[in-house]
Amino acid sequence: MRADGVLRIEIPVEVPFFDVDSMDVVWHGHYVKYLELARCTLLERIGHDYRQMKASGYLWPIVDLQLRYVRAARFGQRLIVRADLVEWRNRLKVHYRVLDAQTCERITLASTVQVAVAASSGELQLESPPVFVQAVERALAAARGNEGTPA
């Protein structure tokens, strides 16, 4: 069970020919690219994308990646890749679901964990940098405002 997050985005992906292996299904390693596309969109929604991360002086390497393959995706299949922000104060944890766009059947479940590392020293940050936490808080406040729900 992968929990829903506080912020969610979805992107469409149509499986390209060059992602399919000789068994006519998406090679397992290619799903990581789909997660990356969704994660980039989520970070843009937060207002702190990879360019802003780098400019702020912190790198955010992936330190953990988990994937569970439920069904195979095939060439030309239209997918929805959903990314949920789950943790942000000490690490950036994102949960993913890859779904068939028409039936919403689950194709793949996944999660990634990233931690902040000072670009200048390589030092691991035990807490996420304030610039990132503040960006998340702004995005959460904006999301609450859009929903008309209390803070």
Partner: protein, 225 residues
Amino acid sequence: MTLREGHARDLHADMAACMRTHPWVTQARAAGHPAPHRGLAIWLNDRGVAHLLQHGRADLLATFEAHCAANEPWAGSEPRAWRLFDHDFPVPGGAALDEEIARPPPREPWLLGEHATPAGHLFELKLPLDLALFDDHFRTAPVVPGVMQVAWALAFGARRYGPMACGTMDAVKFRRLVRPGDRLHLEVAHDAGRGLLDFTVRIGGALCSSARLHVVPIEGADHAR
């Protein structure tokens, strides 16, 4: 004062009165007027704290919102800040209450006391119910991440021994959960010659966590002993 401003103030005062009728609440106060930040301060009893521990802040606040909406249908229309306290935090009055409500959720434990021990130095800490890190770890079961216990050992150790950076750590053990409202004893012991900072976190004598951090002093940083 405009009519709308007066109306908004009354909404919050009425919400606080409504919250005082909730069975998990011992006290509820609203920011006075003209406070720049609208909000409510809620003091939870043991049942309220138990619900927070078992279900998380979001679920607790949803329950409170529903209570207000059921009793005052107009009261849920305006965004507001909620601050949560337990019996360890006395109810402030006047401007102090307004300041407390306006303050962002705390990022560190409250320091209740400290003293030297045979091995090192002990800090008595209290975890606020609405410590910011409980926002995401975890939303339905608030628990202090192990990495934050390491961060607090470094931060409070720095008060005594000066700023230091941690390169590696050994013998890391996490034995018991640390949760909102807990009173902690954080003991740190610094061996400058070997570059070690040992720490333990205990609740009522029970060990929650311990580790040996390999540290180096941060050159040029000031600190007050």
